[in-house]
Structures are given as C-alpha cells and as structure tokens.
Amino acid sequence: MRFVVAAAVAAAPAEAAVTIRLASGEWKPVNIEIEPFAGESGIHRPSEIVGEDLSRSGSFRAHYAPQARAHIDASTFAETRAQGREYLLAGSVFEASDGDLQIEYRLYDAVTETQLGGYQLRAPRDRLRQIVHKYISNWIYETVTGKAGVFHTKIVYVLKNQRGRYELQVSDYDGHGAQTVFQNSDSIISPTWSPDGNELLYVSFEKRRPVIYRQSLLTGRRDVVSGFSGNNSAPALSPDRRTIAAALSKDGGTQIFLVDAAAGSARRLRKSPRLQSTIETEPDFSPDGERVIFMSDESGSPQLYEINIDGGRARRLTRGYAYNASPQYASDGKSAFFLARNDAGFNIAWIDIETGRIELLTSISLADSPSPAPNDEMILFRDERQPRYLFTAAINGKVSLRWRKPAAGEIKDPAWGPLKSDWY
C-alpha cells in the first residue's frame, strides 16, 4: 500500500481510556455535518463511510449536507452552528493519472471557527475503504473524543453458505471486504483471535467431533492445539499466548482445562471436583493474564464466575438473571460483556465486576454472540431472527445498527479483532 501524507496538524496519540459511561439518558452525541466529497461516486463514498463509522460509535450523529460548498468561511460556520452541528468535514477524491486515488480532507470546529486538521493521501482504489476508516474516521474520532478509533479493525465469523458449507471469514468490522480463510463441509464454531491479530483459534467438526485448530493468517498454516477424546471447544488464548483455555469433555461432562500451547498437556482450571453433570464453558482470559472469567451452571442455572489462574475459589459474579453466558472482559479487565436472559428475552449486557452492577445494551428478544470492540465503545452481536446480518451496538447511547447488506448466508460466532496487527 502506497500513500503519501502531506499535511498540517497531526493528532496527539489517543489514551486508551476505558471508562464506560452507560447512563444513556445523559449521553449526548456530537453532531457533525459531512459534505459529499467532491468527485466521490459509486458505492464506496468517503462521506458515507465516515458518516456510518461515526454514527455506529454512538459518540456522533452524522448529518449529510446536500452538496459540497464552493468555499468554507465564517458564514458557513454560522449556518452550521444554527443547525446544531459542532463539526464540519469536507473533502475531495480524484483519480490520478496512474489509476490511484488522491484523497484530501479537512475537519473544522464550527464553534471555534477553526480548521482542526487537513490531510492529503494517495492510495490504490481497492484500498479506499481501509484508508477512509484508518485515516479519516479514526482521526476524527480520536481528535474529538480522545479515544482510539477502531474503524480500521477486522472481525472473524462463520458463514454457512447457500450450499450448506461452512466458511471462516475475515472482514472489515462493517462487513465489507470478506475473505474466506478456511472452509469445511462440517461445522466451524467459536473463532477467536490471538492478541496480535495474526492467528485464529477455532473449532472444526471435520474429524466428526469438535477439535480446536490454530491457523496463521499470515501463512495459512493450521494445526491442532486440542484434540483430546470427546469434545474440544470454546478456545481462548492467554495474552502471553502460552496457554489455551478450552472446554473439554474428555473426563466426562464439560469442564474447563488449561492446555499448554507448546507441550499440549492439559490441567483443570478448578481443582475442586465438579459434579459430572455440571457444564463449565466459555472461558476468557483477563487482559493481564491473571484471571479467567467463565460460565457454569453448577448453581442450577447458567451464571458467570471468575477465578485466579494460580488457584483459589471461583467467585460468582451474577445473581440477577436466570441465564448468563458468553462473558468477555473489557480491555481494562474490570468489567465484562455478556449475554443475559431476562423477562424480555436474550439481550447483550455489561457487568462491573467489583460492584456487580449490570446494564443491558440491547432491547430485543433473541440477541446472541456478543463481541466487544478493542476500545470497548461498540459491541458486535447477532439477532437470531435476522441471521444474515450482524449488528453493532454503541455502548454510549446504546445505538444499535444493522449491517447495510446481508451476507451470502447465515452468520454466526463473530469475534472482533485487536486494535493492531501485522496485516491491517
């Protein structure tokens, strides 16, 4: 990818602030007006890509100006302010003589009547979306909110295509640019990322029972990391990549084991014996690698628990709802996202681990498969009633938006990739 950045102000690096403000009644999004970029056409328009990114985040409400202005001055700012918009984005995109695109853009603060920054980029046409996500949307997001933008990140999910085959696909977080990295006639479930975004772990039924594989996205090489007798599933990789937590049925029932990635040996996560009929599954490592959060139905219903890796008793985290599953830590390890069932049905939820406070993030009835973004500001999820789409919910403001277009089949088990990797 070639690009040239010729510009003025560079934004200061964003702090990874992970405080989650969930009082949606007090939450006010920032209003931004986005002009169509001069010269934009076709299905991939920078103004629309930026507008959709910022709207999905919940932190912005995007308003589209009907046309690009000839010039921007004091009267423009007055007009913008009068309509309640605090920021203005304008730009242009043209094809250079060698077929590459030249993109130029400026962000204005309509309140202080200043230009906050302006850049010029050059990139091949097939990289347009990535460039806009990474250099425009992320930059605006970081400039205004002070948080890291995630619009350039990738996700992985399983597609059951129209011929009934299963495809492991990696795409942009909004569904564009999907690539199949593995396919099978038997089920694939529970993909998860390595911390550096270069590998995936997932469960494949190609041996007629669930076995956990690791696959490099850089080389395509795949190998078995847990193939014990019975079922091997729900993989999670430790931050230091040395341990895989997994749900194994090799000793009867379904219990969580820690598998040494190098040696392949497995030991139980919890020392105390469990009843044969207890189900213990869906482990996730805390970002510092010292704790594991998981679900168990030992109390009589599926609840969330947390335990220190080096031993001790598991602490029960949830009490309110009848069914709590699929826990995943937020990036500060102090809270977690999960799936809860209340009277209204299944919804995505969030829990503060220390206080036990729970917030619901969606209000449908058949939500499924939560996966938080690496900046904790958005979460991917499914709606069982609309299996060909994924949805993003914004943590602040609780705005839920569906993908623009359906996938070529049913989508399951999305997992959001890390902030940085070697290949995106």
Partner: protein
C-alpha cells in the same frame, strides 16, 4: 430360534396330517408307499453367506408389545428415534423413558448392534453452552441404556449443539422440535 422351532413344528403337523389323508386313500395295502409330500424347509436365520444376522419375525405380530421388535418396522416403538427435552434441561421425562427402554431392550439382546446418540439444542443462548447441553442430553440417554443392560461398547455419544436443527423458525414450535437426542443405529 424359538420362531424356527415353531415353524418346523407347523411343518411337521402338516406332514403328519397329509400322511393320514394318504393312508385313507390306499386302505388295505400296508406296504404301499405313501404319496410324496412336498416338504417345505423352515426359514432359518441367514447364516449361510456369513452376513450379519438379520432379525427375523413371525408372520403374525405378537400379541404383547414389540419388545423384540424391529427398529426398521414402521409401527413399532423402536421406530421412534427422538427423545425430547425442556429448555436448558437434560432431564428425561417418564413419557420418553418407554422409548429409551424399548431401544435398550433391543440393543441388550443384539450385542453386535451399535448405536449413536446425537444430542441437540435449540438456537437460543450461547452456542458453546448448547454444545455442552447436547452432550449432556446424549449422555443422559446413554446412562439409561447402560442401566438397562446395553454395553458401553455399543454406544457412542456426540453433540451438535444448536448447529443441526430439524425445524427452522424462531418460536417455541420450532424450538421444541430441536431440543432432542436422535437415536441412530449404525449401518442404517
């Protein structure tokens, strides 16, 4: 075995009554040969070609329930291959027990017959929990079979979780069809 003896006795009785009839025809001449009677060989179990023993049955259905029945026969209890469950549960209700016991009975008397118990769940909730739930349901059916004399080597359990629904749809009508264990006979 019992059935072939029954059959042979029936043939013998037919033979004897036929002889009696012939004797009546040729009265007075004791050294007359009786007329040859067509002898019908009894239908034995097919052991000749070294094939697997097929269960064979009398022409008339038994008066008692088809405990020794054929899993392939449409109206027998053994044709029922699905055991159903409540949401998130792996408890087997009394009504379902009869089906499992019928299969256990057949399997315990046909030790070469293998069976695969496939556990499933409806689509709601966590994928992974549903995989484990399907396994627990299959294990529950297995445990009843073991208690009823089926041997460990005959039974294989697997789970598909929510991945292989029988009924599509997002309401209880469909969900209840999917919370099941399927009993599949090997080589069927």
């Amino acid at each position: 075995m019992n059935k072939s003896i029954l059959f042979t006795a029936a043939v013998a009785a037919a033979f004897l009554s036929a002889c009696a009839q012939n004797k009546a025809k040729f009265s007075g001449r004791i050294d007359d040969e009786p007329a040859p009677v067509a002898v019908v060989e009894p239908k034995a179990a097919d052991e000749s070609a070294g094939k697997r023993v097929e269960p064979s049955f009398p022409a008339q259905p038994q008066a008692t329930q088809a405990a020794g029945g054929d899993p392939r026969q449409v109206d027998s209890l053994l044709s029922k291959r699905l055991v159903y469950f409540d949401f998130n549960k792996s408890i087997i209700s009394v009504e379902q027990l009869g089906i499992i016991e019928a299969h256990s009975d057949y399997l315990s008397r046909n030790l070469a017959q293998g069976v695969i118990l496939e556990g499933h769940a409806d689509e709601r909730g966590s994928n992974e929990y549903n995989l484990a739930l399907g396994q627990r349901r299959a294990d529950a059916v297995r445990d009843i079979m073991l208690a009823n004399g089926v041997s460990q080597e005959q039974i294989e359990t697997i789970s598909f979780g929510e991945e292989n629904p029988r009924a599509l749809g997002h309401a209880e009508e469909a969900w209840k069809e999917n919370r099941r264990v399927e009993i599949r006979y090997r080589d069927e």
